[in-house]
Subunit: 291 residues, 2 copies
Amino acid sequence: MIQRLAVIGVGLIGGSFALALRRAKAVGSVVGSGRSAATLQEARRLGIIDEIAEGPAEAAAGADFIMIATPVGQIEAILRAVRPQLAGGAVVTDGGSTKSDLVRAARDALRDRIGQFVPGHPIAGAEKSGAGAALAGLYDGRRVVLTPLPENDPAAVARVELAWRTCGAVVARMTPQEHDRVLAAVSHLPHVLAYALVEQIVTDPRAEVLWAHAAGGFRDFTRIASSHPEMWRDICIANREALLQEIDRYAGQLRQLRDLIDAGDAAGLEHQFQRSREARDAWLQRLASGA
Amino acid sequence: MIQRLAVIGVGLIGGSFALALRRAKAVGSVVGSGRSAATLQEARRLGIIDEIAEGPAEAAAGADFIMIATPVGQIEAILRAVRPQLAGGAVVTDGGSTKSDLVRAARDALRDRIGQFVPGHPIAGAEKSGAGAALAGLYDGRRVVLTPLPENDPAAVARVELAWRTCGAVVARMTPQEHDRVLAAVSHLPHVLAYALVEQIVTDPRAEVLWAHAAGGFRDFTRIASSHPEMWRDICIANREALLQEIDRYAGQLRQLRDLIDAGDAAGLEHQFQRSREARDAWLQRLASGA
């Protein structure tokens, strides 16, 4: 049970976290802070938060659980602001999409209080953002990765894990490096690829006729290019190292397919397409069966 | 009104064409042929076709409208088989995803009968395939591109156009080269990109943990990698020239984004992501308004 939850950044991720805990009656009161007064007022109107705090420090004062759910580029400054207000028994977690870079910044910002920070990442993004998109059921059956630190008290990790379980999520633990490598491959790289494709259409002299003939496949492929530009800017920079490796591997994959096409290698293309289809379909079946 | 429709290749595209014409009561009888006896029997059971023909030549005999809806790699051989059976007033069209290469092959195959062939392409693919996936409403509001030939009698083009309009489609006309260039950009390239991404996961030594953390964004991005491998093999080879140009342009786009990430250019990344999001969202709005 959380007595007083502080949500710093009341958008899709933070707002849904508060709503899910409220749904489970696992939280007393919720205080929110953020950069946009309009979003905070909307969040209060929607019953996501009870109170609006002046800023992160004011939100953290008196809270026993602090969720930082802003673009990753803002988290370090927020941790610095929060630190002087941090109660001894409070835990801090976050919803940032990258972890190695953040852990370095958090050690700097929190110093001797770093043990109270349990980094986390709910894998439940959507191209929608803002408090209005928040849902109590967003995390049902979704995966949350925690990347506990050697400095963490096991009880602090357990509290964060319990909160996510209460939200309906499935919790996995990894090192920050492992997390970043996995997410670069399955999330950050696809976003970059989708943005690059849309950019290619946008910069084409015949963009109008191209858009007119783009259909459902294109729409689904580029859905993630409607994601939050600032958030993805921060992710690309924070996870630069792992992401560049994945981009370079991908350039190699693409070159290999290009060479098969250039050579007119029908058997090679069909073999690869078949293998991809089978692997993807097997994954969808595992997803559907909840395995 | 079509008296006798021959559908050669009774899958998603050919089957839906027959069902849509039946829905409009615009066809007398439908005869089907194809490589799989099981598919043809299913198509008859589902009421998509009335009769099963031995092969393309038998299907074409006595038909006044012939739709060839097979992977593009098979169309030339089918046209050769159909030619001796072609009635003087019959029109032949196809649903192939590439056009320049096909037109060359069709001229070879049909010789003095080339004027009866009106090439077409319904932009209504789906990752599903087979007669069981066919729908009478598949083409409602969808775009069909016809690439008429100088040899075509305007009346033949008009008949094919009317048939597609009767199916609910919006018909555009282009040259075969223009068609291939447009489709390479908005359809063939995205397919290659999705296949390459799945291939990257499949060949990763840590594929299991990657699949376990892939989420909704990945699923949508890779949906088209569950497309029909043989069909996409044929498309890549048939539209090689335009597709290679798009792949090369894409490699350049990706390198440019890579350099922004490598340089930590936050403003540059945000600018590009913002522009992509706005362009895509504007397109979605035009789609929704039916413009």
